[in-house]
């Protein structure tokens, strides 16, 4: 039972309160009609599938219902950091966790 830190509630909450939201920082194109099929495919389906630190979205579905971002190690399942929607991925995540 992983504990996830909701950056809005400012609390560690059990993972059952959250839903996963896929890879983070993928902005919906402002003018989808201007994209080629290949570019649109990239937006819809192509994801980094990182082994290791992965920036992704979570939603505190059974809590404040807000979306937020997280950097999680996909091998160990350790959450390195969580941060609010609209914020940039913290520049340096050290091995022992926490933004540098």
């Amino acid at each position: 039972m992983i504990l996830i830190h909701c950056p809005y509630c400012e609390e560690d909450r059990p993972e059952v309160e959250f839903t996963y939201g896929g890879e983070a920082h993928i902005a919906r194109p402002l003018d989808p009609s201007a994209l080629t099929d290949s570019e649109w495919e990239g937006y819809l389906y192509i994801r980094s599938n990182t082994r290791g630190l992965h920036a992704e979205r979570w939603r505190h579905a059974h809590g404040c219902a807000r979306f937020f971002n997280a950097v999680r190690d996909t091998v160990s399942d350790r959450f390195e950091v969580t941060y609010k929607t609209g914020e940039a991925r913290p520049a340096r995540i050290t091995q022992t966790g926490g933004a540098a």
Binding site: S33, L44, R57
Partner: protein, 954 residues
């Protein structure tokens, strides 16, 4: 000494005898005994049969690592628990237990014939045999193997016990209540921390319970424990799983140790513990030695012999031989002598042992055979003697004995540590893995960290013998009958990794999960492969540590509490009308209202006729509703849905279609504009949470600049659908503040006012194709308004109808149901809903995907109707559609039936389907092959009734 019970010593209470039965025979033990100790005291050596060869099996250990003595404990009707380890069963008056995996009896097991043919059943045999002929597998091999295989019998009736669960938080969780664990708990408690100490046994003490010299220390420590008010002590509690961030699952046994008449309350309690720090004090498990004949009943671990004598006051035999590779075996021998057990000899593979031990043993009169090994064991159901040879291959001689105790060294219990992904470090001197670097806030104390005080030993794999390994019956895994030669065979066959060796031989895969066999298997594999143990790997440790009941994991989540059941405010009224219900998502919905013994078809036919001829009333409260409010409300809906919303006037409704970004239909619903900046949106019943989640996703993470907010109002509005030509008449006298005339209140409009004195948003919408209203009132008033309408409708024969009738009536009009007629791969064009797509909108969710060539190509499945040639033939939903039923297999399929009903309105059956190029096929005959026949049907437009919609606009 009577039987094998020592006249004094041990922690059993000889003043409290207890009677119990095993395999139908009556025995006696004492309070404090386990089933195992009481049986050994009575001279029982045979406890079970091994899994594969049905070889006779005796007790190996006195702890949870026991692989052989698996019994079924019978606590009464429906309460037989199979595969319980006899040393874990606390004795109580009237205990009933049976051995397993044998027929007709333990002594005369017919299936032990397997053992005679064991050469035909080496490791991995089932990967190579029972393959030919193929036809024999289903009818012969599988049923026979199924009957012969397995351990105890599974229960076949419902578990009548109930199980409790709780959460606990503490600063320090200590797992293991031996002296090391108790001291760790006391240390932590002194700092003021909340401490939880758990131990799987019936009393604290761990290994100290078999060492009387430590009992007074133990008592003093326990007194301190119980005096502290910040330490919670749980015995009979097993930590079975160690999960992320110090979350530990533990199951506490509450009643199994009590006589059934005394057992009250929940049988077990599941503890979900979150700890600041976890201290593991789980000790170490002794290793058996691998030698020819080591599986004869009466051969057991030295620590088991010691525990039986010093904790339970039971002599394991009248003449005991120790086979040692470790000093601990010598200490056990001396302790046994002191307790009054006769030790005939110590055989040690080492040529030199410490002088202290050797002198003490000689002084005690024990014959010593250093640099020697047991090469054979006489006896089948019980040990009769051993053959000992110098160096294993030299001159041999026999020793008469009735018990052999093996001291093969110690393996720290690293199961929970490893579950928590703690690192392991190979210790060459001790031939075992020790805990290394933790991943969680966790530390190990005591023997589990290698801190034991009973000397050292030699590392062995198979003990030397003049017989080649391939001819020896030298067992590594006693439960699964894996011999040393099987591990050699696996390597011979090309398996290099321990994961493959394990699965090919099944070593370590039994109910004991390799607690006594993994390390020995590693050593043997290492020897045969010629590679160090660290290069062969170690199998993964997974929860649970010991078998857990489903009941404990389930707790209270069963029957009515298994899933939440959502009910509308009308549910009770429908129940009183004897409605038949169905589940839609988590909602309970009335499916039909049978009268006077009607079956579903008759009830639905009557309900349908009533709606089209007069008026019906339907509970639509479960529909999802979202209040969309803000200056940018219309802009937001424009971006989300396919439809144009900006031009929709307040007071008007529109059928909204929602796509995913990949262009496929995901939801739909009629929505109303209440004001410039306020929409009352509806969704399907099952889609409500998904749609709101999707909208919040876009609003929060893509279009946060929009000034609009969303509120779920699904449960706030009760929705009463009133459908039929008399619908307006029914509510005319109830409605206030609204002009109901068709000129003032057209189809697809909404008005605010009152009904039966209650505020309402009155929608004029129809899912049936008849004149209709959906009356939205605050849920708290829903029942009252429903009853007022029902009363007002009596003169018109108002008829309650359920979801089944609702499905039929909408199908007659060709209205889709998302998730039934669509399957997540249909576009608006496929479903004939292009009219709902705003052509002038620059963008909406899914628009870009609709422009993909795939989405407009010929051959896509399209939504159409089907009319069977036999008007009473009912197509099956999901049935496949073909153009040529005589085509060779595989017959090309062009689509499937999505909805199919008897239509009382048309007096025949109707169906809806999606088939390739459906619209171009209108007028054609297609075929629906079933198991016993082929059904012919004509393709039509998906519309069977009032195609002009004239009945809607009255």
């Amino acid at each position: 000494m009577s039987g094998y019970r020592l006249s004094s010593g041990g922690r059993v209470d000889r003043s409290r005898p207890l009677r119990f039965s095993f395999d139908g025979a009556g025995y006696q033990g004492f309070a404090g005994d386990t089933l195992a100790s009481a049986l050994v005291a009575s001279g029982v050596t045979l406890f079970g049969r091994s899994f594969k060869y049905h070889r006779p099996r005796g007790l190996l250990a006195t702890g949870v690592e026991e692989p052989n003595a698996l019994v079924s404990v019978d606590r009464g009707p429906a309460r037989v628990t199979p595969n319980v380890r006899a040393p874990q069963v606390s004795l109580h008056e009237g205990l009933v237990a049976e051995s397993q995996n044998r027929w007709p009896s333990l002594k005369f097991d017919v299936v032990s014939i397997n053992d005679r043919f064991s050469a035909l059943f080496p490791a991995g045999f089932y990967n190579k045999t029972f393959m030919w002929p193929r036809s024999a597998w289903e009818k012969l091999y599988e049923p026979v193997i199924r009957r012969l295989a397995g351990l105890g019998d599974s229960p076949v009736t419902r578990d009548p016990d109930h199980y409790d669960a709780t959460y606990a938080h503490c600063e320090v969780l200590v797992v293991g209540g031996g002296i090391a664990g108790i001291e760790a708990a006391l240390d932590a408690a002194r700092t003021g921390s909340r401490v939880i100490l758990i131990d799987e046994q019936d009393e604290l003490g761990g290994a100290a319970l078999a060492d009387p010299a430590l009992w007074s220390t133990l008592d003093a420590l326990k007194a301190q424990l119980f005096a502290a008010d910040n330490i919670t002590v749980l015995t009979r509690t097993t930590a079975f799983g160690y999960y992320h961030q110090n979350f530990v699952g533990a199951s506490q046994q509450l009643t199994d140790h009590l006589a059934p008449s005394e057992a009250q309350g929940p049988r077990e309690k599941l503890w979900r513990i979150r700890a600041g720090e976890v201290v593991l004090a789980q000790g170490a498990i002794e290793r058996p030695l691998v030698f020819n004949g080591n599986d004869v009943p009466g051969v057991m671990l030295a620590s088991a012999g010691r525990t039986l004598a010093l904790r339970y006051g039971v002599a394991v035999g009248r003449a005991v031989v120790i086979m040692a590779a470790h000093d601990s075996g010598w200490r056990d021998a001396l302790a046994l002598i002191e307790a009054g057990v006769h030790v005939a000899a110590i055989v040690d593979i080492r040529t030199v042992v410490s002088a202290d031990l050797a002198d003490a043993a000689r002084a005690a009169g024990i014959a010593l055979h250093l640099g020697s090994a047991i090469t054979a064991v006489a006896g089948r159901h019980a040990v009769k003697g051993v053959t000992v040879a110098e160096g294993g291959t030299g001159p041999a001689h026999k020793i008469a004995c009735d018990a052999v105790l093996m001291a093969g060294g110690w393996t720290p219990s690293v199961h929970l540590w490893s579950q928590a992904k703690g690192g392991l470090v190979w210790n060459e001197a001790w031939g075992t893995y020790l805990p290394g670097k933790p991943q969680e806030k966790c530390r190990v104390v005591g023997a589990g960290a290698g801190a034991w005080h009973f000397g050292s030993g030699a590392i062995t794999s198979v003990l030397p013998n003049s017989l080649p390994v391939s001819k020896q019956k030298a067992f590594v895994d006693f439960q699964n009958d894996v011999k040393a030669r099987d591990i050699q065979l696996a390597v011979q066959e090309g398996f290099r990794s321990i994961e493959h060796i394990k699965r090919y031989t099944t070593n370590g895969m039994a109910t004991d999960q390799g607690k006594t066999s993994n390390l020995n298997a590693l050593q043997i594999a290492s020897g045969v492969l010629g590679r160090p143990v660290t290069e062969i790997g170690l199998t993964t440790f997974r929860p649970p540590y010991t078998p857990q009941t489903f009941g404990a994991l389930m707790g209270h989540h069963k029957d009515a509490l298994f899933q939440p059941v959502r009910k509308s405010v009308i549910d009770d009224w429908a129940t009183a009308q004897d409605a038949v219900f169905e589940n839609v998502a988590n909602w309970r919905r009335a499916r039909y209202f049978p009268k006077g013994g009607e079956d579903m078809d008759a009830a639905v036919a009557r309900e349908c006729r009533a709606v089209r001829q007069s008026v019906g009333i339907f509970d639509a409260s479960t529909l999802g509703k979202i209040e969309v409010v803000g200056p940018d409300a219309a802009e937001f809906l424009n971006r989300m849905y396919t439809n144009p919303w900006k031009a929709l006037q307040p007071g008007r409704c529109r059928y909204g279609l929602l796509l995913r970004e990949d262009g496929f239909i995901t939801d739909d619903g009629v929505s109303a504009r209440m004001a410039d900046d306020r929409f009352h949106l509806t969704t399907t019943t099952g889609g409500a949470p998904r749609v709101l989640g999707m909208m919040e996703d876009y609003l929060q993470t893509e279009w946060s600049d929009l000034d609009v907010w969303l509120t779920s109002t699904t449960e706030q509005w009760a929705v009463i659908a009133l459908q039929g030509p008399r619908a307006r008449d029914v509510i005319a006298s109830l409605v206030g503040g609204i002009d109901l005339s068709p000129e003032a209140f057209p189809h697809m409009a909404v008005r605010e006012g009152t009904i039966a004195g209650v505020p309402t948003r009155l929608f004029r919408v129809s899912f049936t194709g008849e004149l209709g209203f959906e009356i939205n009132v605050p849920a708290s008033e829903g029942r009252k308004v429903w009853e007022a309408i029902f009363d007002a409708g009596q003169p018109y024969g108002i008829t309650p109808y359920g979801t089944e009738t609702m499905h039929v009536l909408r199908a007659e009009k060709g209205f889709i149901i998302v998730g039934q007629d669509t399957d997540g791969t249909m576009t608006p064009g496929d479903m004939g809903l292009d009219w709902a797509v705003g052509k002038k909108k620059p963008d909406f969710v899914g628009k870009r995907s609709l422009a993909r060539p795939e989405m407009t190509r010929k051959g896509r499945k399209q939504f159409i109707g089907l009319l069977t040639e036999d008007p009473q033939e009912l197509l099956e939903e999901g049935a496949q559609v073909v153009t040529n039923p005589d085509a060779p297999i595989p017959v090309p399929m062009i689509g499937h039936v999505t909805s199919s009903y008897h239509s009382a309105t048309l007096g025949r059956t109707i169906a809806l389907a999606v088939i390739a190029d459906g619209r171009a096929r209108i007028g054609e005959t297609i075929f629906v092959p079933m198991a016993d026949k082929v059904i012919r049907a004509k393709v039509t437009a998906p519309m069977f009734y009032d195609p002009e919609g004239s009945r809607l606009n009255d």
